[in-house]
Amino acid sequence: MHLGDLIPVAVAGRLDAARFGRVWEISQRGARAPETEGSRPAQSSRHGALTLRRYERPASQVSFDFVAEWNRAIVSRVAPGGQVSWCYRAPDHFECADPPAQSVKAELLEIDTSPHLALATSLASHATTVIEFDRVPLGRELAVGAGLHNVWLRKAGKGTVSLRVLVQGRELGRIQAGNLTGWTLRKFDTSALAGQSESVRFEITVDDPNSRYFGFAAEARS
C-alpha cells in the first residue's frame, strides 16, 4: 500500500513526465508506463512479482508552468461582437460574470479517468474564454495538454471544446476536446522564440456548454 504514496498531488497530476530526468517504474505482469515507452532502463531488478526499473534521460527545463502561475493570468470573456468582459481574481480562482461561478481555477481534474492538475474552466455559451499570460519566458517548445473533466459530465454533455493557442498573437495550433478524446497532449515548436518573453494566449470556445468542464495544462520548456 505504500507504493507511490509519497508522490505529491502536483506530481500525480503532472502534464507529462518530460521535466523528470530520472523515472522509477514499478510494474507487474509485463506492464509498462506510457512515460517510459521506447526508453531503455538504466537499471532493472525483480522484487517478487514486481519489476523495478530506473530510467535516466535528459530532463526538460520548464521555464514557465501555466498552472502553477495561474494567478499571473488575465482572464476575460469575449462576446461574438468583440465586447470584452473582464473576470476578477479571487484568492484561489478567477470569477467571470457569465456563468457566475468559479470560472478558472487550478484544480486536480479527472480527465480520461486519470488525474490532471489543470486550469479548470467552466464555459460560457456564445463567448470565448480568454486566458492570457504576459511576458512568458519561452523555451524550445510549448507543451499543452487538454481534456474534459468528470466521467458523468462527459456522459451527459455533447459539446466539443476548442482550445486555440496563440503566442504573440500568432496561432500555434488548436486542441479539440470531446467525450472520447481523453487527455490530448500537443507540443508546439517555439524554438524561434526561445529565450524571449512573449504573451501567450489561450482562447476557449464551445459549441454547447452543457455539462462541459474543460481543463488544460501547459508548460514552456527548453
Partner: protein, 614 residues
C-alpha cells in the same frame, strides 16, 4: 457404459434424494460463507423494501383485527408500503421481508429501534436462526439457489447419467460470479432459477398437458421476480419453431402450444395478484415498469480497459464491434476453464447427436422420451411426434441471453449478472461433456470395479477446479477472472470490470470503526445509507456512525473517506487527494494483489520510514 447403465435404472429408489442433497449442500455452502460477503448497494435497498412490504402484512393484520380489512387495500396504504422500489416486481423482496421477520434475532428495541424503515413497536417474536439480520434477509435467495442446483440435476438427468448430472449441478453454482449473486438478496440468481424452472416446465409440457399449465404458473413467478422474464418466451418460441420446423415444410404452421397459452394468461394474472403496487392502476403502472427497463440508462462499466456508459454509434465501427463482444468475452473470462472445456465437448456431442441411433450404437444422450410411434401432435402435447431437439433447446437458452446483451444499445452495467440465466444451461451442456469424457475414459479401462468407480471419480475430479476457484474468489466473485484471463490480477490488467455495488467495504469495517474520526464525518462513497444502516443493525458498525451521504462536494467535508475502486470512480480518489492533500491511502483492501477499496484519512500520520538496504 456405466453412467448410461445407471441412468437406465432410474426410478429405482427415491429420485429426490440426490437433488435434495445437492440443494442442501449448495445452500449450506452459501450460508457458510455469506457472512464474509459485504452488502451490495441494491441489496440494501431490497432489504429496506422487503421490510416495508412486510409492514403491509402487519397493517393488513391490524386492519383485520379491527374488522376493517378493506383499509389495508386502499390505494394510500398499499402505495405507502409497496411503492418502495417499485421498479422491480415484489416476489423476492416479499420473501426477503418475510424471512427477516421470521428468522432474525431481534435486537430491534433500544438504540437500533429507529434504524428500521417501518415502525417497530416492540421486540419481535421470531425463530432466531441467524445472528445477523442481513442473513435472515438473504435466506430465501440462498434456498432458491439450492433449488436451482437441484433443478439442474433433475433436468440434466433427462439427458445424462447421475454422476454427470450431479457434475452439471455442481458446475452450475461453482462459478464465481454466479456464486457471488447466489448469496445476496438480489434478483439475478433467483431469475436464473425461475427461467430454468419455466424452461423445464416448457420442456415437459411438450409431452404433458399438466406441465403446460404449470409452465404458466412458473412464468407468473418469474415475471414477479425480475424483468428478464420478458425474454423467456422469446427463447422458448425459437426452440418450438425449430422443433416443429417440419410443419413449415408441410406448409402447415404449428399450433400454439398450451405452455404458451398458459404463460400468456396465467403469467400476467399471477404477476398482478402478487404485486399490490399494480392493483390500483394496472395499465399505467405496468407501462411505467416496462418503460423503466426498456429505457434504462447506461451506467458506467469497464470492459477491456474502456469505460462504457453510452451505446457506441454504429458509425464508430470499431467501438461498436468491440462492445458487441462483451457477453462472449466476459463468459470466456469468468466461467471456470474446466466448465468451459466440458461445455465445448458437450456442445460438440449435442451438435453431432444422431436422431435415430442404430441399435448397436451407444447413444450420446440418454433420451427417455423418443417420439412416440404413431403419436399425433396436439396443442396439449405438441412434441409427441417429433424429436425434442435438446441441442437447440440448450443453445437457445445459452445464446439467447448472451445475444441480448451483445446489442450495443443494451446497457451492460451489470456485467455477467445480466446473462446469468444462461449459466445453469451452460452447466448442463458441461454435464453432457462430462458424460462424454466419462464414456471415453471408461472405454479405455478394463477392470470392472474401476469402470464402475470412474463416473464418480471423474465427476469429482472435473468439478474440483471450479469449486476451488469459486471458494478462492470469495468474497469478491464479481471481480474474479479465470485462468484464461490470468485470475484477479489478469482481469485487472485486461481492464475488466472489478466490482460494483460497493459491497467490498466489509473487510475494512473494523479499521473504519477503529479510526472513526472525532468529527464523525465519514464519506462512504458507493456504500449507500441503507447498507451502512444494515451494517449497524448487524452489529458490524457502531450505532451513530457518521454518513455524510452521496455526492462529490461532500468529500471535502469528510475526515475519513473510502473509494470503491471502479474505473469511473477515479474522480472520487482525486477529490480525496485534493481535500486531504495527500495521495497516500490510510488503508487498502485488496484481493490477490488487486485493490478493491482504499480509505483515506485526513491528517493521517505518515507510515514509518523503512530504511532501504544498501
Amino acid at each position: 457404459m456405466a453412467d448410461v447403465g445407471q441412468a437406465k435404472r432410474r426410478g429405482k429408489g427415491p429420485r429426490w434424494i440426490v437433488p435434495l442433497a445437492l440443494a442442501l449442500a449448495s445452500s449450506g455452502w452459501l450460508l457458510a460463507v455469506e457472512g464474509r460477503q459485504g452488502l451490495a448497494r441494491d441489496e440494501a435497498q431490497y432489504f429496506r423494501a422487503g421490510e416495508r412490504y412486510w409492514g403491509w402484512f402487519e397493517a393488513l393484520g391490524e386492519a383485520v383485527a379491527a374488522r376493517k380489512p378493506g383499509r389495508a387495500f386502499s390505494r394510500a396504504v398499499v402505495d405507502s408500503f409497496w411503492g418502495d422500489n417499485h421498479e422491480h416486481p415484489p416476489l423476492m423482496k416479499t420473501l426477503y421481508g418475510l424471512s427477516w421477520r421470521l428468522f432474525h434475532r431481534c435486537d430491534c428495541v433500544g438504540p437500533k429501534q429507529g434504524l428500521h424503515p417501518i415502525a417497530v413497536h416492540g421486540k419481535h417474536r421470531t425463530l432466531p436462526l441467524f445472528s445477523r439480520e442481513s442473513t435472515a434477509f438473504r435466506f430465501p435467495a440462498i434456498l432458491l439457489a439450492g433449488l436451482g442446483v437441484a433443478l439442474v440435476y433433475g433436468f440434466a438427468r433427462r439427458f445424462i447419467g447421475p454422476w454427470a448430472a450431479a457434475g452439471a449441478a455442481v458446475l452450475s453454482v461453482a462459478q464465481p460470479h454466479y456464486f457471488f449473486h447466489a448469496q445476496i438478496s438480489c434478483f439475478d440468481v433467483p431469475i436464473a432459477v425461475m427461467a430454468l424452472l419455466v424452461a423445464w416446465a416448457y420442456w415437459k409440457s411438450l409431452r404433458s398437458p399438466r406441465w403446460g399449465i404449470l409452465c404458466g404458473v412458473f412464468y407468473g413467478f418469474a415475471l414477479a421476480t425480475k424483468h428478464n422474464a420478458w425474454l423467456i418466451p422469446c427463447f422458448l418460441v425459437v426452440h418450438y419453431l425449430w422443433m416443429r420446423r417440419g410443419d413449415f415444410l408441410r406448409l402447415r404452421p404449428p399450433r400454439v402450444p398450451l405452455a404458451f397459452v398458459s404463460m400468456a394468461s396465467l403469467g400476467p394474472i399471477l404477476l398482478f395478484a402478487l404485486w399490490p403496487w399494480l392493483w390500483h392502476a394496472p395499465v399505467a403502472r405496468t407501462r411505467e415498469w416496462l418503460q423503466r427497463h426498456t429505457q434504462h440508462e447506461h451506467y458506467n462499466f469497464e470492459y477491456l480497459g474502456q469505460n462504457w456508459n453510452l451505446p457506441p454509434p454504429p458509425t464508430q465501427t470499431g467501438r461498436w464491434l468491440l462492445r458487441a463482444t462483451f457477453p462472449f468475452v466476459s463468459t470466456a473470462f469468468t466461467v471456470p476453464v474446466t466448465t468451459l472445456a466440458l461445455a465445448a465437448a458437450g456442445a460438440v456431442v449435442l451438435a453431432r447427436r444422431r436422431r435415430k441411433d442404430a441399435p448397436a450404437d451407444e447413444p450420446d444422450l440418454i433420451n427417455p422420451e423418443p417420439p412416440e410411434p404413431g403419436a399425433r401432435a396436439s396443442w396439449l402435447r405438441p412434441g409427441a411426434d417429433v424429436d425434442l431437439a435438446p441441442g437447440m433447446f440448450l443453445a437457445v437458452q445459452i445464446l439467447g441471453p448472451l445475444a441480448t446483451l451483445a446489442f450495443p444499445s443494451t446497457p451492460i452495467f451489470g456485467g455477467v449478472k445480466h446473462f446469468l440465466t444462461a449459466m445453469p444451461f451452460l452447466a448442463m451442456v458441461a454435464g453432457v461433456g462430462l458424460a462424454w469424457v466419462t464414456r471415453q475414459a471408461t472405454s479405455l479401462v478394463r477392470p470392472l470395479r474401476l469402470r464402475r468407480a470412474l463416473p464418480a471419480a471423474l465427476a469429482t475430479l472435473l468439478c474440483l477446479p471450479a469449486v476451488a476457484e469459486t471458494q478462492r474468489s470469495h468474497p469478491d466473485g464479481v471481480g474474479h477472472y479465470n485462468l484464461l484471463a490470468g485470475g484477479f490480477a489478469g482481469g485487472a490488467s485486461l481492464g475488466m470490470n472489478r466490482q460494483f455495488w460497493g459491497y467490498s467495504v466489509l473487510p475494512l469495517l473494523p479499521w473504519i470503526k477503529a479510526h472513526r474520526p472525532p468529527s464523525n464525518r465519514v464519506y462512504w462513497h458507493d456504500v449507500l445509507h441503507d447498507a451502512v444502516m444494515m451494517y449497524v443493525r448487524d452489529g458490524r458498525l457502531p450505532v451513530g456512525i457518521g454518513d455524510l451521504g452521496v455526492g462529490e462536494p461532500l468529500v471535502a467535508q469528510s475526515d475519513l473517506g473510502i473509494v470503491i475502486l471502479e474505473k469511473h470512480f477515479a474522480v472520487y480518489e482525486y477529490l480525496h487527494w485534493e481535500a486531504y492533500q495527500t495521495t497516500r491511502p490510510a488503508q487498502v483492501y485488496a484481493h490477490e494483489g488487486v485493490p478493491f477499496v482504499v480509505a483515506y484519512q485526513r491528517g493521517a500520520p505518515p507510515p514509518p520510514q523503512e530504511p532501504l538496504p544498501p
